[in-house]
């Protein structure tokens, strides 16, 4: 693996995680604030709201995880090693 490929891999691994965490971060913030509003309005529904919140947070989290997976592949299992 030459230096250009190594540098590009490390750089794009950082980009993959960084960019992939922007959208889910905003989404999780929205979801959490709405859930807090819902609990404030109806404290008796807290259990159900918390369940739905955790489940949907896990879904949003998985989008970041996809980005993380790309960067892990680039760092530890780079398919471009030995080419070029």
């Amino acid at each position: 693996m030459n230096d250009i490929t190594a540098a590009a891999s490390v750089f794009s691994a950082a980009l993959a995680v960084g960019l992939a965490s922007i959208g889910p971060g905003i989404g999780q913030g929205n979801a959490a604030s709405k859930a807090a509003e819902g609990i404030a309005r109806q404290p008796e529904a807290e259990g159900k709201i918390r369940g739905a919140l955790l489940l949907s947070l896990a879904f949003m989290e998985s989008l970041t995880i996809y980005g993380l997976l790309v960067s892990i592949v680039l760092l530890f299992a780079n398919p471009f090693v030995g080419r070029g």
Binding site: M1, A6, V10, L54, L55, A58, F59, E61, S62, I65, Y66, L68, L69, I72, L75, F76, A77, N78, V81
Partner: protein
């Protein structure tokens, strides 16, 4: 050789971050990932032993382990009932429960200090840390919801494919995207957990990783819940009546 990996492995510490290294066993033409097999067996042994000894001497008024097992059963059938519906859910409780319990125990097992046991290559970790395990689970989920649809309405299950070619394309695509997202979600989450723990142990070996490990117990449980809930909801969608409009 990878530059990052070299940098990580050349640090003067005993701990190291290992990704994608496996203890391979050759079984005829099949190559097995040894450490995944070992921890899968451990998970199965825990589950089987627990349920076996918990269901000896069943009593009308449950106590201790039997009580706990009944609580777990109520929880699991609650997941199935919420997603599949009152009419059909009983048939699917064993499957959904098995999926949940296996992933749950597997995720939590990964937080044990497995690196104390040295094996020739790679290191012991939770079996869901291996994409093969999660992909197999996702394919089982795919097969089971197709089976659920066929069992409920025979070949009529595929009737809604004939209505519109564009929607049919989307539904065919779903056969690929659903197992993909199920497996990658679980695999990525667990791998990320173990990586974060690995990197932290590399930096600060004592105390600092402990609160994160507690957090990862929570996320491991949530991932098991997500996988089971999604499988149940796919099954539920397959067994609902197809006469009314598809959402």
């Amino acid at each position: 050789m990878n530059v990052t990996q070299q940098a990580l492995n050349s640090l003067p510490l005993t701990a190291s971050v290992e990704v994608g290294k496996h203890l391979t066993w050759q079984l005829g033409p099949v190559t097995l990932h040894g450490q995944t097999m070992i921890t899968t067996w451990v998970v199965m042994a825990i589950l089987i032993a627990f349920t076996y000894f918990g269901t000896r001497k069943l009593q009308r008024v449950p106590s201790t382990v039997q009580n706990f097992l009944e609580y777990i059963h109520d929880f699991l059938s609650g997941i199935a009932r919420d997603q599949i519906g009152e009419k059909e859910y009983r048939y699917w409780v064993p499957f959904i429960g098995t999926v949940f319990l296996f992933i749950f125990v597997a995720n939590w097992l990964g937080q044990l200090p497995w690196r104390l046991f040295h094996i020739p290559s790679g290191e012991l970790a939770s079996p869901t840390n291996d994409i093969n395990t999660t992909l197999a689970l996702a394919l089982i989920a795919l097969g089971s919801y197709i089976y659920a649809g066929l069992r409920k309405s025979g070949l009529g299950y595929f009737k809604h494919y004939l209505e519109s070619p564009i929607l049919a394309a989307v539904w065919v695509l779903e056969f690929f995207t659903r197992p993909l997202s199920l497996s990658i979600r679980l695999f990525g989450n667990i791998l990320a957990e173990e990586l974060v723990i690995g990197v932290l142990i590399l930096l600060v070996p004592l105390l600092v990783p402990a609160p994160l490990m507690l957090l990862f117990l929570l996320t491991g449980a949530i991932q098991a819940l997500v996988f089971a809930t999604l499988t149940a909801s796919y099954v539920g969608e397959a067994v609902e009546d197809h006469h009314d409009e598809h959402h």
